[in-house]
Structures are given as structure tokens and as C-alpha cells.
Symmetry: C2
Subunit: 382 residues, 2 copies
């Protein structure tokens, strides 16, 4: 998979381009909303299009446990099942097995784990993950890896990285030996691991590039390490990854992280923060995040952001949103999610435009001059 | 308020017409979705329009407690607050005070009650209810009444009815002595009480018609009495109410109730059932209600109703909806509510058309021949 029409920024490593899938083209840099269980929480496919979504993410782990692969296959894949006709990227399931699964048993073969829903036993391996992602029919498939826990010693990180490399080679071999089920092409991305150790990350990036994937992800970041490490590792890895293929920084992040990572040459992002924060009443503005549950918004009969073009800001006041949050009215989770996803897409679109215009450096400076990182931010899980 | 262009059905008392408000005209018979706390649960104003909603209901009791009348007045009324530009009907608050309020103290003056939210003390009376509904700015205001508890002896029902009549006269007098706050006209409806006793209902209807309201509601039904009583009382009351003014059967009901009550000459309805049932996975079809949580829908990769024009049926399968219900995904509450509200509006539109075409009797027979009342119906509260 090539990144086409690549434009680079003169002062940074930021880049803008396009990637093509059988479900449509994607302008990068791009943010991918997370559709955990076959739905980007509270949003319909029409809402996703209206907010500017070009591609969404689906979680293999969640879909494997519910509705299960029999239903997914009889539905004809995830696009059909959820009525989303744009591109989909699915993860390998590994990350959630390690973070959510119970009674994991990791071996060279893969992972055995218990469902958190009903206690049933499941196995995930390179081959099984590829089979599942064939059934889901995602446009971009992720290789099976181990997300190295943080913190890890350099020795632990190395052992984990080497296991990941063996699993990724198996993923690639098996993926190449099988065919898509639904007539559209699927691309396979490799995932660079190596914790916070630059030499391991360099080694991992080189090993994966030699294997020859359709695109490359940076995994195992945003797992608790200092921000400086996240940026430094991203910088090291993007220096090695091929210029003409897409780079995806997994699970990142906050708006400020996206700006920094774009400046380091990342093309693709996913994160649950915009939708999760929306459900907790934290909404994004160009001045920073705002809590719409705050008493000071009681009589704020004006939009969250009067210049925002999203359905929420075009129609509803802060006072109304605050009321809905206080009353636990379902409508507000959708409105707030629409705004936050729109904000993330708007941020990416402005970065893309500033790269094309050759002024990304100025955009970045202006962003950090106005965006107050500390306002009402939250990271609590849903 | 006149009901215009009245067409009556040859075999029944069913009627079709139009009523006009400053926020738009309404074709009757009409179902009004309930926007309890400033939101028809899970639906946006655009969703309401798309499902065919002509007028919605707001609850004085809920809005009085939260966000409160200061916020409502500074917002410029309920239309502005919730961004709904169509007609709104508000109830008097009385019904919820009696059913939800704590520590009620009823006197000739009115009712003192405690907020279920924070224990604060509030008073509701004819005059206060009119003031609140002026602040809300609803197009149709309901007089303050006592919803007679069921069961009640004829003596209890009579005492309650007489109190209601005094409260309604005070509502009317006070309403006439005050002006709308926002430049659009407001109409006042009286409410007929008298429990299940035909003589009391006849007396109540006559007393109210003599007072001279803009329209008339039938209150105190669908509170536990046998269906036969509900229909018999409705029949008795519509014989007395003026032909040229709208009649509104409060809190009713199930699809079969709407068909019967239309045949008895009712023009307007409201009920939480379609939205509440939607949130519990009970969806309406022309064959009767269906439970979309049922295991048999696991692989039902076809719409709930392939002929239904709603957004839900046009885009999603039963299997997907079932999956979303099982996963508690927020999206499904909206999709299911859209379908159920669309079904109710479609039912009203078909009745309207059959009245205009002079074939309502046939429509009614065909409806009951295909609609299975017992399928998966639920009444449990949300």
C-alpha cells in the first residue's frame, strides 16, 4: 500500500497524502474513530460521515466474543453488519486480550484466554487473528503482536519484541496464503515494538520493513510512559519506516499528541478519548477541553464553539447540553460525541491543509499558543 | 382553537382535520412523542422531523425541577432551549406531582411537594402552573387538574372532579389575565375527569365546555382501569365535546388503543410506550410487537420490517440491532426509538388517510386481523 501524492513539510517531518482502499480513499494525516463492538459509541454511519470520518476502527477481541464469528460471516463481514461502506481497519485482538482478558496463557503458539462475558475459552494466534480479520473483512488488517507491558526492562522488552517478530512473520505468511472473503482487497500492517528503548525500536522497524508489510504501525506507546519517550520513540521509528508507505501510531491520543506525532511523520491515529470524553461531558475547543457539566454553564445560551460546523454546535447551547448531562439524557452522548469526533477530524484537516500550504510549523505554534492542555482534561476510563 | 377541514368517517366517530399553531399546522389524528425533560429520549429534533413528528410534549414537572424556570426563561422558552421549532404541548405538572412527587400536601389552593432530585419544596397551583407554561412557551397549555386515582368510589371521584373543575376555572381565569412571553400564541385545553363513571364524565365534559376552553382533553384514563372502561368513557365524553374543537386522550397508548380511540372520535394522543419499549428492545411491526433481544434474531440479516421507510429499517438488520442491545451500545436506543416513533406516526397517517378515503372501518378491521396484541408486549417502566 503506497501513500500517494505525498507532500512534506519544510520544517518538520509532517506529511500529507492519500491512501486508497476498495471502500474509498483516505486523506492523511487521518484520525480513525474507534468502533469497538461494531459501533462507534452512540454514532450512526450517517453521523460518522457528517463529522468527516474517512475510516473507522473495529476491535477483533470484542467482535470475536460478541456477536462472534459465525454471525459476522453470515452477515457478510463487518461493513455489511454495521452498514458502514467506508474503509475499516481492525486490530489483531492481541492488545485487548492482554489488557481485558482473564487467565491469559501466553505461549509460542499464541494466547489462550477466557471471555470476560461468559467465561468461555478462546485462543488467539497469528493464524487465528488473520482468519478472524478475513471474516471481518476489514480493509486494513493488523498483524498479531504482543503489546509489551510498561514498564519493562530492556531484556524483557527484547524478548517480547522477538516474540512479536515471530508472530508477525507468521501473520504475514498465513495472510499471504489466504484470500479475502468478500471480493474487496485487504492490506496487512506490521507493528513495531521495543518499548521505550531506541535501539530495540530501530531493530524492530528494520526487521519489519525487511518482512515487507503494506504499512507500518507503532505499537506499545501511550501505555503509561512519559510523553517525551512517546515522541522520541516515534521520531526514531519514522526515520526508518519507508517514506512511501503509511505509518500508524496506535491508540494515540490527545489533540496535542496528534499535532506532535504528525510533526514526527505519522499518518494515521486512533483513540477512544474523543468519544469517551464526550460521554463524560468533556468537550474539545480550540482553547482546550471544556467540562459541560460545570455549574458555570447553567445559563450559557450559546454554542460550545460558535464557529464549529458540527450538528451539535449549529443547533444547541452549552446550557442545553449541560441540562441533558445532568438529566442523563441519551441524546447528549450522541451530540457530544459528534462534536468531539468533528473536532478531531477538523484538527487533522487543518494540519493536512497547513502541510499542503507549507505552513505546518506555524500551525503547530499557533495551536499550542491557544490550546490550554490542562483545562478540564480527563483520562478516566468509561 | 378550531379543528379545520374536518372529515368524518361514515361508520365510526373517527375524524381527520387540521389544527393550526404559530409553530406550524398539525394534521389529526396525531401522536405526540413525549419529551419528558426537554428531549424525546435519544432523539434529536432532526430525528423527530425525519420520523414524521408534528408536535411534541414537554413535562412541566420535570422541567420545573431541572433545569428550573430561571434557566428556561433566560433561554427564551422550551422551543429555543431544545432547538425544536415545531409545536409543543405541555402538561400542567399535576399528574407527575401525584405519581412521582414525595410528601404531597393537597389543599384547595394546590399541591405542595418535595423534589425527587434534591428534596427541595415546591408548590403547584392553577396560577403557578399557568405561569410555568407561559415561561415554557408551549403552543398548547394544559389546565391544572387532579388526576383521580384508580380505583375510586363514585363519591371520591366526584369530590376529586369538583376540585378539578375549580382548579380549571382558576387556570382559565388566570391564563386569560396573562400574556404569552415570546410573541407566539398559546392555547389552553381543559381536562375532563370523573374516573370510570359515565354520569360524572358527562357532567365534567359539560361543565368544561361551558367554561369555554380552546380544546379538551380526557384525563384520568389508562391508569389501571379495564380497557372496556377506557373505551366506554372515551365514547361517552366525545359525544359531548364540541365537534369543531380538538380532543386529546392523555397518556394513551398502545397501537390498538390508538385505533380504538380514533374510532371513538379522538384527535390527539401522547404516550411514552414507543420510546420506552424501544429502549427495552420491543419494536413495533404490523404483525405486532417484536423483541429484538431474542436469540432467534441472532442471524436475522434482514430489516425489522422490509417495507418500513425509517432510517433504522432502511439501514440495519435485526441481527445487528440484537447485537447492539446485547452489547448495550447507545446507538441502538436511538435506532429503535426512531423506528417505534415512525411506526406510531405511520399508524396515525394511515388512519388519517383511510378516514379521508372513507374506509376507516375497513382499515380498523384489517389492522386487528394482522396485529397480534400479545407478541412480546411489555409495560414495564424504564
Amino acid at each position: 500500500m503506497k501513500i500517494e501524492g505525498l507532500v512534506t513539510s519544510p520544517e518538520t517531518k509532517a506529511r500529507a497524502g492519500q491512501i486508497h482502499t476498495d471502500h474509498g480513499s483516505i486523506s492523511t494525516p487521518v484520525f480513525m474513530p474507534v468502533g469497538t463492538a461494531g459501533s462507534v459509541k452512540s454514532l450512526s454511519p450517517d453521523d460518522l460521515i457528517e463529522t468527516g470520518s474517512q475510516i473507522i476502527l473495529g476491535n477483533t477481541y470484542h467482535l470475536l466474543l460478541r456477536p462472534g464469528m459465525e454471525v459476522m460471516e453470515s452477515a457478510g463481514g463487518l461493513h455489511e453488519f454495521m452498514s458502514w461502506n467506508g474503509p475499516i481497519l481492525t486490530d489483531s485482538g492481541g492488545y485487548q486480550v492482554f489488557s481485558l482478558g482473564q487467565m491469559n496463557k501466553i505461549s509460542e503458539e499464541g494466547v489462550v484466554f477466557q471471555s470476560r462475558l461468559d467465561g468461555s475459552k478462546h485462543t488467539l494466534s497469528s493464524e487465528i487473528s488473520m482468519d478472524i480479520q478475513r471474516v471481518l473483512g476489514s480493509d486494513i488488517v493488523m498483524a498479531f503482536d504482543e503489546c509489551t507491558p510498561y514498564p519493562a526492562t530492556v531484556e524483557q522488552a527484547k524478548i517480547s519484541m522477538q516474540l512479536t517478530h515471530r508472530w508477525e512473520q507468521r501473520s504475514l505468511d498465513y495472510f499471504r496464503s489466504t484470500d479475502p472473503l468478500y471480493g474487496h482487497a485487504q492490506q496487512l500492517f506490521g507493528i513495531v515494538q521495543g518499548s521505550v528503548y531506541p535501539e530495540l525500536r530501530q531493530e524492530s522497524a528494520k526487521v519489519l520493513v525487511d518482512m515487507g508489510f503494506d504499512g507500518y504501525a507503532i505499537g506499545g506507546l501511550s501505555v503509561g510512559e512519559p510523553k517525551a519517550d512517546m515522541y522520541a520513540i516515534t521520531d526514531v521509528v519514522t526515520d526508518i519506516l519507508p517514506q512511501d508507505q503509511p505509518r500508524y501510531l496506535m491508540g494515540v491520543g490527545k489533540p496535542e499528541d496528534l499535532v506532535e506525532a504528525v510533526s514526527l511523520g505519522v499518518d494515521m491515529f486512533d483513540c477512544v478519548l474523543p468519544t469517551r470524553n464526550a460521554r463524560h461531558g468533556i468537550l474539545y475547543t480550540w482553547d482546550g477541553p471544556v467540562s459541560l457539566k460545570a455549574a458555570r454553564e447553567k445559563d450559557s445560551h450559546f454554542p460550545l464553539d460558535s464557529e464549529c460546523q458540527c450538528y451539535c454546535c449549529q443547533n444547541f447551547s452549552r446550557a442545553y447540553l449541560r441540562h441533558l448531562f445532568k438529566a442523563n439524557e441519551l441524546l447528549v452522548y450522541r451530540l457530544a460525541s459528534m462534536h468531539n469526533i468533528h473536532f478531531y477530524h477538523d484538527l487533522m484537516a487543518r494540519m493536512r491543509q497547513s502541510i499542503v500550504d507549507g505552513i505546518f510549523g506555524t500551525f503547530r505554534q499557533e495551536f499550542f499558543a491557544s490550546y490550554n492542555l490542562k483545562r478540564a482534561e480527563t483520562n478516566r476510563s468509561s
